[in-house]
């Protein structure tokens, strides 16, 4: 019995071991997958490359590893499966991941096995934002329909008001004629509500004082309102969601397909600008991804816009047309006198994009999430701590603060409120 019990234990340990390792591998695999693969692959749907669900069933592990490390070599070796695969996907070249270790590729496979089917719609292809998506974003200012409507309503109110005044006067004069003709019908004369209740109070006031206090009240209220208005409205474009020349959806790309922000906004860690990607970047994927399934076998009109911009002819597969730059509408506008550097915040400060731009991965139409006012910047500078321990630049000053017994230093304490940090 004892032995068999021990055996059972050993066996169960064996049985459990894969479970534990898998749990760890899946975590790691997920990270690796998101970092390296999502720009071209999804588990459950075909993007640039094939859907990876059951890839382990289609090919053995050794083959997959060889393929991932250098797919071109596999194709060159005239492996029939590889050649067929390449042909199927327009011979788009898969990036060689020579730096990935075998174990890492295995963990990616482990993740693929367990990856859940996404809850949202699993349609492939970008673009083609439907109208409900557009309305999901808060409506921006500058809607022509709104202001026309307002004008119509105002006009209507004016006409109706005029009519009611006219009717009132007609009624009054009719009553007057009636009362002169039949005085007994006239109501009993007595002090009205105004004369009886209000006027005695009013007549007691000093006129000058009353006027001045009334004026002061008015001025105060006006200023209060004006100040608030100026503070929150003038030049503030919170919620600004202009229509863009291409109905590009961050929700599909960053949300559904989990493409890293930096894949497109590649300069965000190097430059002050995150920069809008050039359409040639879009072509990396969209040379293959055409969302034909959504448009009855035709290429999505939004994707066609990219082709037009770069001068690509999808039929001949040649870049022979004229290039036409895309005029995107800038959403986040800082005034010229404010200097903002993305690399300082993203690379050095390690701040997630979402902190300022909101849940961009859920936005079909991008809108300005925050006010971008100075107070908003300052608030964050006051709250955020500088990660001094992990950057050698801060070595000296960190030592000074440590000597003073300060464990945490906020951006503000470290000079983050200096005017010349942003204004020069």
């Amino acid at each position: 019995m004892k032995i068999s019990f021990r055996l059972l234990l050993v066996l169960s340990a064996f049985a459990l071991a894969p479970v534990f390792t898998t749990a760890q591998n899946v975590e790691e695999g997920k990270k690796l997958f998101e970092a390296n693969c999502t720009s071209c692959h999804q588990v459950h749907s075909e993007v640039v490359g094939p859907a990876l669900k059951d890839v382990d069933k289609r090919r053995d592990e050794a083959w997959i590893i060889k393929w991932v490390k250098n797919s071109q070599a596999v194709i060159k070796s005239e492996d029939p499966y590889a050649v067929a695969l390449a042909n199927k996907f327009n011979n788009s070249v898969m990036t060689s991941f020579g730096s990935l270790k075998d174990a890492e590729i295995k963990s990616i496979l482990a993740y693929i096995k367990t990856a859940p089917v996404p809850a949202g719609p699993t349609a492939g292809g970008g673009g083609g934002t439907d109208s409900t998506d557009v309305n999901n974003g808060p409506s921006g200012g500058g809607n022509m329909n709104n202001s026309t409507m307002l004008m119509i309503l105002l006009g209507l109110a004016f006409v109706l008001g005029l009519t009611s005044i006219l009717l009132g006067r007609v009624a009054a004069s009719l009553k007057g004629t009636l009362y002169t003709a039949q005085p007994e019908l006239a109501p009993e004369e007595g002090p009205g509500f105004w004369d009886g209740t209000f006027w005695p109070w009013v007549s007691r006031w000093n006129k000058t004082v009353a006027t001045i206090s009334f004026m002061l009240c008015f001025v105060f209220l006006y200023c209060y309102w004006g100040f608030g208005y100026a503070n929150t409205e003038i030049g503030v474009q919170k919620g600004y969601a202009p229509a863009q020349p291409i109905n590009y959806s961050h929700k599909i790309h960053a949300g559904q397909y989990k493409i890293q922000c930096q894949y497109c906004h590649s300069t965000v860690e190097k430059s002050k600008q995150a920069s809008i990607p050039s359409p040639s970047t879009c072509m990396n994927c969209h040379v293959a991804v055409q969302a034909k399934d959504k448009y009855a076998g035709k290429i999505s009109p939004e994707i066609m816009k990219i082709y037009n911009a770069v001068g690509y002819n999808p039929e001949t597969k040649k870049y022979d047309g004229p290039q036409k730059p895309i005029k995107w509408v800038r959403i986040h506008n800082l005034p010229d006198f404010a200097y903002f550097n993305h690399s300082q915040h993203v690379k050095v400060g390690k701040i997630a994009c979402q902190k300022c731009h909101g849940d961009i991965q859920n936005m079909s139409v991008v809108y300005q999430k925050n006010t971008l006012q100075m107070g908003w910047c300052i608030e964050c500078h006051r709250e955020s701590k500088v990660d001094m321990a992990n950057n050698k630049y801060y070595e000296k000053i960190h030592a000074k603060y440590k000597a003073l017994g300060k464990k945490e230093v906020s951006v503000a304490e470290n000079g983050g409120l200096d005017c010349s940090k942003c204004h020069y």
Binding site: K392, K400, C419, Y424
Partner: protein, 1087 residues
């Protein structure tokens, strides 16, 4: 206790003229004419307004503003590249190594581009200019964006197609015999361009190439040919010379290769590592920046130069025992020539004599002197010679003759402008008219372009490919930094096409030249490496000492000396550091840069000595006509210039290009062309006129002179000493008056603390920093009218102070005494002092700003926040250094200021990292905070500490004299912290402060070598007595002059200074004690 010397900036300050006094009382020379506007009876503005009008205007303005504020925010577009170029990252500058094309010196440069447009030009560290660049080079980037450039090929003034132009020219070339074709170019030191010209010449048998320099060194080349058989300009090494004697050669400002020479010169002038410096003696007629920086400056008339040199030759021959020249005896006051000869002889083989003369006999004489002194092979190198000047004047003179006689029928003017700068324009013009074919490659609509039949406009050098060999073995490349802006074509390609080439591609042409010269093995790697670096330097061979076989013609020297007699008026022309030969006359930055000496912007003028002017009954503001046998200027303003030699008139070249300048500039500048006075003398173009006639033709013209703007009213700004005094006592000339008691709490700067130090000993006043600052910080050009009102916007000004030499063993301190010494207006010493915002630790501007627009940063910067500023100008009123500049207008959007910021092309030069300031805000030097921020960010991104030198300000980077040091004074390893090291400061700290900064001081003290300590002792702050604790320190100017006559006074000075210091310390100790008990009677302690 103050320095006994009196410093003054201009005669109006010296004589305390009423205008000067009234202007100095106001921070702004002109207030707002509110009274005029609001006065009912005023007619100045034709407004005749009254209170009601005022209310109307007021109401209207408010209404208009309210309405304007209702505007919807404009829709802004963001347009990415369709295909992003691999190496361009939006927002990150990209640098290209290239070669400066502003003059023929060929300095290596780095061009800073942003999103494909060049915005700044700086020196390349590895070429002979060692990272520095002159004002003209700095400004050359703006000439690229000149809206007046020729925009397409032209026939006359009609534009035409390139194809048509090429066929026209080809057909016409065929009709002309090859021997009647000439190519005229400036100095060509590019092997490939030379090969292109040679190709053209080969295709047209018998054609010739003529080199024409507007301002040539043709006499030097001829003299070297006659003396040594080498027709070249030698390489000089002012760094190896311990005694430098210059006869009218402005080698720090304009002569041949000024940046290279300044870098060399300053090696032996900086006192940071050693206690010796070179001795520099300058004999010259007009005051140049080289003369200003010399230890001894001796005014001589232009005609006397040869004679002075011949006498120097004889003095040396006396010592040497060789044969003497038969010339008349000539000596200057203080036995200057004899003493110079002795000093030179003492440093035989380690000295240098140069002359700026374009007289071949004078240059042979100079060669003779240098041979006698054994300088060849040591400070002068004829083997690794310079290629920076190649023009021979007589060749072009002959061409003009040939053009007129019909011996030449076709001329191609390759980037030269003789129609402006040739000495006989009438003859040239008639010659050009007689030509069958005249082609120019001018890049803007200059005088030559207007005269020739065809213009095939060349690219700007920032759009071109080229190579250079400015000095033997010193190769640099030029590469395009922007696609061509207009329909222009590289002139070399034009030449090749006219030589019959079908596909002329100058890029492959250069590569072919290089393959020929350097072999084609491994060429791609070699080429890419060279293109990346911008230079390829072959190790120089040993310089030989060739034997002198020239003969000095004593009689010609005597003859030219006789042309000018005592009291006879002479005329000379000179170059300004800003304008040079005038090729960049359409560049508003250069036009507005105040001349380092006269501080005049926008104009040239007739420079005259005070006593001469008095004799001629002339004064500042008079207009005179000047004529010689060769030319005439109808009307030119007079400028009385201290330091100018008597009986001589000097006029700057490069001005008067009225027709070539854009509208706005025409209005501003009334300069005149002085090239008309030049003439050919023995085959070399020079201006040596004796029959000068001057007549007063008008009065009342005011030059836009900035010399007394921003005056500090005679307070001691400049400190100086002599080498002897300084060696004896490092603190000499620097008697600190720093207070110890302060109203303010000292702030603790935990991170960086930015600071700057400026070595007055090195600064030559060349103005390169001013233009570098203007380019970096988008400083507006305001025009002559506004400069007259004292509204120039330069963040950095270079104050120029005159003082008298102690010739009479007495110091002239009072006006009465000065009046007596009117003679001495020939003999002034000059000190330059760059002044920008001092970033005071306890800044007086900060406390008065009602809206906190100017505040102090945690890194010691005095910050100016434009978007907060409401324009009260209180800060400018309160600034002791007068460094704040107010935007009176929207200079970038106002047709009245149509310089460079008012058209889209000109705006391309704007640095996108710096705000363009709007009307109504104050601005000032920011210590290039954008560079600080970007330097810090790079360090953070790369996860490393910031190292000294990571952050350089624009002025520091541009300075050819290494006069500016900038850095973090909290970093004990930085150069700047050493210059701020102050023993006294530490000893006066409280115990707590001592404890916290003990480590810093100890590290610093340990790192300071003894010889550096005496250098540090030269540091002082401006107006220390007001105790604002500036973050800029200056270092006392040290002159290497042996003035024994004032030795006694010197000793007394030192003694008094030491006593005063002890007294100060005692007083302050007492003071502190009183403070501790309660507030002492501070009034009693005036210092």
């Amino acid at each position: 206790m103050e320095n006994q010397k009196q410093y003054w900036r201009g005669l109006e300050e010296l004589n305390t003229s009423p205008e000067f006094v009234s202007n100095s009382k106001n921070e702004f020379m002109e207030g707002l004419p509110l009274d005029e506007v609001l006065n009912e009876n005023s007619s100045t503005f034709g407004l005749a307004s009254n209170r009601r009008d005022f209310l109307k205007f007021f109401g209207f303005s408010i209404g208009a503003v309210a309405l304007a504020a209702c505007n919807k925010a404009p829709v802004k577009n963001a347009i990415p590249y369709v295909v992003k170029p691999e190496n361009i990252t939006p927002g990150v500058p990209l640098y290209y190594a290239s070669t400066c094309g502003a003059c023929s010196s060929g300095c290596g440069i780095l061009v800073k581009t942003r999103e494909g447009r060049p915005i700044k030009v700086d020196g390349n560290e590895n070429t002979f200019n060692k990272g520095a660049l002159c004002a003209q080079g700095q400004a050359s980037v703006l000439s690229l964006y000149d809206n007046d450039r020729i925009k397409s090929p032209l026939m006359g003034t009609q534009s035409l197609e390139w194809k048509k132009l090429d066929t026209d020219i080809a057909t016409q070339l065929k009709t002309i015999d090859g021997s009647k074709i000439r190519v005229v170019s400036g100095t060509i030191n590019s092997p490939s361009t030379q090969r292109a010209i040679d190709t053209f010449i080969k295709a047209h048998k018998g054609a010739e190439h003529i080199t024409y320099d507007a301002i040539s060194s043709s006499a030097i080349i001829k003299a070297n040919e006659e003396s040594f058989g080498k027709a070249v300009v030698p390489s000089y090494d002012f760094g190896k010379a311990e005694v430098i004697v210059s006869f009218g050669a402005d080698f720090l400002g304009t002569w041949i290769s000024p940046v290279e020479y300044t870098k060399q010169w300053v090696e032996n002038r900086k006192l940071n590592k050693k206690k010796t410096m070179s001795r520099h003696i300058q004999f010259e007629s007009n005051l140049s920046i080289t003369g200003s920086s010399a230890d001894m400056r001796l005014p001589i008339k232009p005609s006397q130069q040869g004679l002075a040199l011949a006498n120097l030759y004889n003095r040396l021959a006396d010592i040497n025992g060789s044969s003497k020249l038969d010339v008349q005896q000539f000596e200057l006051p203080l036995d200057a020539i004899k003493n110079t000869a002795n000093e030179l002889w003492a440093k035989k083989g380690a000295c240098l004599v140069v002359s700026g003369s374009n007289d071949v006999d004078v240059q042979i004489l100079v060669n003779g002197i240098n041979t006698m002194l054994g300088n060849y092979g040591k400070t002068i190198d004829l083997d690794n010679h310079s290629n920076q000047r190649k023009g021979i004047d007589s060749n072009f003179d002959k061409l003009v003759e040939d053009m007129n006689s019909g011996a030449v029928e076709g001329v191609i003017f390759y980037n030269v402008n003789p129609a402006y700068n040739y000495h006989n324009i009438a003859k040239l013009s008639s010659g050009i008219k007689k030509l069958k074919l005249s082609v120019g490659t001018s890049y803007n609509m200059d005088e030559t372009a207007k005269m020739v039949k065809y213009t095939a406009p060349d690219h700007h050098y920032l759009e071109s490919w080229n190579d250079h060999e400015a000095k033997v073995g010193h190769y640099t490349l030029t590469q395009p930094t922007i696609t061509r802006i207009f329909n222009t074509r590289q002139a070399q390609e034009s030449l090749l096409i006219w030589a019959g080439w079908e596909n002329a591609d100058f890029y492959t042409f250069i590569q072919d030249t290089w393959k020929e010269n350097f072999g084609s093995d491994n060429f791609v790697t070699f080429w890419n490496q060279t293109l990346h670096n911008g230079y390829y330097i072959k190790t120089a061979g040993e310089a030989s000492a060739p034997s002198f076989k020239g003969t000095v013609k004593a009689e010609t020297i005597t003859a030219s000396a006789n042309t000018g007699g005592k009291g006879k008026l002479e005329l000379m022309t000179y170059e300004k550091v800003s304008m040079g030969d005038g090729s960049q006359a359409n560049n508003p930055w250069l036009q507005e840069l105040p001349d380092p000496i006269s501080k005049v912007s926008w104009d040239n003028y007739a420079v005259i000595n005070k006593s001469t002017a008095d004799g001629l009954n002339l004064t500042d503001g008079d207009n005179i006509s000047v004529s010689t046998g060769h030319g005439k200027i109808e009307s030119i303003p007079v400028l009385i210039q201290p330091g100018m030699v008597k009986d001589t008139v000097a006029i700057a070249l490069g001005y008067g290009r009225i027709d070539a300048n854009r509208e706005a500039m025409k209005k501003e500048s009334s300069g005149k062309n002085a090239f008309v006075f030049r003439t050919s003398r023995n085959g070399h173009t020079t201006c040596l006129s004796s029959d000068v006639k001057i007549a007063k033709v008008g009065t009342g013209y005011t030059l836009a002179q900035t010399q007394t703007h921003h005056t500090i009213e005679g307070r001691n700004m400049v400190k100086e000493t002599t080498l002897d005094r300084w060696t004896a006592d490092p603190l000499s000339g620097n008697k600190s008056m720093s207070h110890i008691v302060s109203l303010w709490d000292e702030k603790d700067y935990k991170g960086h603390r930015w600071a700057m130090a400026i070595d007055l000993n090195a600064c030559t006043g060349c103005g390169s920093c001013v233009i570098a600052c203007q380019a970096e910080n988008n400083v507006a050009v305001v025009g002559r009218e506004e400069v007259l009102k004292g509204r120039e916007m330069h963040w950095m000004r270079i104050d120029r102070y005159y003082s008298f030499t102690d010739k009479n063993k007495k110091k002239s301190t009072k006006e009465k005494e000065i009046a007596k010494n009117v003679d001495d207006f020939e003999n002034v010493t000059v000190a330059f002092q760059p002044v920008m915002c001092q970033h005071c630790t306890h800044a007086s501007c900060e406390t008065v700003c009602p809206v906190l627009a100017t505040t102090h940063s945690s890194e010691g910067l005095n910050q100016m926040t434009y978007n907060r500023c409401i324009g009260t100008k209180y800060c400018a009123n309160n600034c002791a250094y007068k460094v704040r500049r107010f935007n009176w207008f929207r200079y970038f959007d106002n047709d009245k200021f149509d310089f460079n910021l008012n058209n889209d092309l000109g705006r391309m030069v704007i640095n996108p990292d710096v705000t363009v300031r709007s009307r109504g805000v104050m601005e000032k030097c920011s210590f290039c905070v954008q560079r600080i921020q970007s330097g810090k960010l790079s360090a953070k991104r790369e996860n490393r500490a910031l190292v000294d030198g990571d952050v350089k300000t624009a002025c520091q980077q541009a300075c050819p004299a290494n006069a500016i040091v900038f850095g973090d004074r909290n970093d004990p390893n930085s150069e700047i912290s050493k210059l701020f090291y102050n023993d006294r400061e530490y000893s006066l700290m409280t115990d707590d402060e001592k404890e916290s900064s003990k480590e810093y001081f100890n590290t610093l003290k340990a790192s300071l070598k003894p010889e550096e300590l005496s250098n540090v002792a030269r540091s002082y702050a401006l107006l220390e007595e007001i105790n604002v604790k500036p973050s800029v320190k200056y270092q006392v100017k040290v002159r290497n002059r042996k003035d024994d006559s004032i030795k006694d006074e010197l000793d007394l000075d030192i003694k008094l200074a030491k006593e005063a210091e002890i007294h100060h310390a005692r007083e302050h100790a007492k003071h502190a004690a009183q403070d501790a008990e309660g507030h002492g009677k501070e009034e009693k302690h005036g210092h």
